[in-house]
Amino acid sequence: MTDAVLSCSHVTKRFVSRGKTTEVLRDVSLVVGPDQIVVIRGRSGTGKSTLLQILAGLDRPTTGRVEIAGRSIEELTARELIAMRRQTMGFIFQNLNLIPAWTAGQNVEAALLYTRLTRSQRRQRVQNMLERLGLGDRIDYLPSELSAGQQQRVAVARALIHAPVLVFADEPTGDVDAETATSIMDCLVGLVRANGTALVICTHGELPREVANQHYILHDGTTTPA
């Protein structure tokens, strides 16, 4: 697939700790096309977060190749990789997702700091995004003053504010109840579809099959289509 926004082939990852080598990922290959939503499901400790970090260029694979927008991340310099992350990717983490000292608005605005937008343009865009997510009146709230669901929606806003081509979500609903989880997923999927953004979600829970274009199961360090 030449127009894949993300592809990885034969990725392995080994960690050496106290003289012991642990192979977390083994020969993982997958392709994510534009507009696609890919769900990687697996139990806790199976290496979902590690895979996500390798796919996002936050970590290096021991072997294998990862390409983002047609460029191999191994061939990118650290500076180019940072620039790529800044421009083309968004991230949502499971918990402790926001900078606690910054307000909701500042947290979202952080993703726009490296754009050419003026401060007022940034603030306006943040305001619009938070309003779309029903948090327009919470822009000056600190994360500690928001519920878990609201915090995750702020994280969704931050991941999408700069219109990335690819969003990574690591257990985005892991810390909330089922109803809130559904609400967050609706928000996320709705925005992703509306913007034509590709989305890779790692989760240990169940997601409705119709949400995603591809489902993978991560087990024993290897992905298999579900």
Binding site: A101, A110, A111
Partner: protein, 409 residues
């Protein structure tokens, strides 16, 4: 920059207790440094004031060459062969007063004065004694090399207008059983004893002291064929500072290579002591500065360990290493500035009165500490300290991979 500042401020406010502790730490360290530096400066200045003038004097004379010395030959041919112009027990040539003026003009010399010393022989019992003629009004140089008012143990010191009066060295007075008000006969002339003095060890020490002009008249009676006016046989020199004494001696020697210079070497330990004091002040201040920076660095590292996940999120968002370093260093510098400002205000407003109460009884002149320059200096120095304290932690955390930082909860 304003965004970085805003974020830095938010971070500091988030950890209020730790920020307050760090700021207080900076404040305590800076105020300690300011007080210490202030006190050390003042005591250093005072100590230096004393050490500067410890042993900063010498005498110079021209030892006689018996073959060519006119006055010496005159004496040798006379009846009174043991007598003569002497300096430090050695027969000495006459030196023109113009030499004194040239020496006085040297940049390292504070003052110079002529002195006339003559060894007489008592015609009754044949004992020898030295008479020194000096200018009683020249306290600076005479006081350190010859005799001073503080040396008087009985009676009083000579004044410029005193005539027919002498001061007698304690040992000589004891030998001759002289006391204040007694009369001594020198070269057939009678003088009243005005005071008994103990000059200790001085380069131009004599047994009897009297004003220069009178000494000149007395010597002229012994050397009628020698022109004494405008001549002396000993030059008393006071140097500006113990640290330039060696230089002064070299300069005098270069002017008059034949002159012998006699100095007590106590200016050398004085100059060394001064240098040691200066080094001690510098070392102590630098040590406190380094200690403070290290403490602040440890505190900053501890904060960063707690914040690793936050920084991982920022890296994930595309924050560059430089931007993260800027953020951390700015936070560190902000705390340092806050601490230094608080310390400056505290020290400038409260410390003088506190110090006055505690330190003045210890004879430390606190009122002469110049606080405003110290306060002004504390702020930029604390900025530098804050930058240094933040540099290593910032460098350390900025080099970590985002994935590694994100694993830290």
């Amino acid at each position: 920059m304003s965004m970085i500042l805003q974020y830095a401020w938010c971070e500091l406010r988030r950890r209020k207790a730790r920020t307050l502790t760090t700021v207080l730490g900076y404040g305590l360290a800076v105020s300690s440094m300011m007080v210490l530096v202030g006190i050390l400066q003042v005591s250093g200045r005072n100590g230096a004031g004393i050490l500067d003038h410890t042993g900063t004097h010498f005498v110079t004379f021209s030892p006689a060459d018996m073959a060519s010395c006119g006055p010496c030959l005159a004496i040798a041919n006379s009846q009174i062969q043991s007598e003569g112009l002497v300096a430090l027990g050695t027969r000495a040539n006459l030196i023109p007063h113009a030499f004194v003026e040239r020496i006085k003009g040297l940049p390292t010399v504070a003052d110079a004065a002529p002195c006339l010393q003559y060894r007489f022989r008592d015609p009754n019992d044949g004992h020898l004694y030295t008479v020194g003629g000096f200018d009683p009004d020249n306290a600076t140089v005479v006081g350190t090399t010859c005799c001073a008012a503080t040396d008087v143990i009985d009676g009083r010191f000579l004044g410029g207008s005193d005539q027919g009066r002498v001061l007698v060295e304690q040992a000589y007075a004891q030998l001759r059983r002289l006391k204040v008000g007694d009369t001594v006969q020198i070269a057939g002339q009678l003088f009243s004893v005005l005071g008994i003095i103990n000059t200790g060890i001085r380069p131009a020490r004599a047994d009897i002291y009297l004003p220069y002009q009178e000494a000149e008249h007395l010597v002229a009676t012994r050397l009628p064929n020698v022109a004494l006016a405008g001549y002396a046989n000993l030059i008393l020199v006071e140097v500006k500072d113990s640290s330039v004494q060696d230089q002064a001696i070299r300069e005098v020697k270069s002017l008059y290579p034949d002159l012998v210079i006699s100095s007590y070497a106590c200016y050398r330990p004085a100059a060394q002591a001064k240098a040691i004091n200066t080094a001690a002040i510098t070392l102590l201040t630098v040590a406190i500065g380094i200690f403070t920076i290290l403490l602040a660095m440890v505190s900053q590292l501890a904060v960063l360990v707690e914040r690793r996940r936050d920084l991982g999120i920022l890296k994930t968002l595309g924050f560059s290493k430089g931007r993260i370093m800027e953020q951390i260093i700015l936070e560190s510098a902000l705390q340092a500035v806050l601490g230094a400002t608080a310390a400056s205000l505290f020290v400038a407003c409260l410390m003088p009165s506190v110090l006055l109460r505690w330190l003045v009884p210890m004879s430390i002149p606190v009122s002469s500490i110049r606080w405003p320059p110290l306060c002004l200096l504390a702020i930029p120095l604390s900025i530098v300290g804050g930058l240094l304290a933040g540099l290593f932690p910032a460098f350390w955390v900025s080099r970590q991979r985002p994935s590694r930082l994100l694993r830290c909860f």
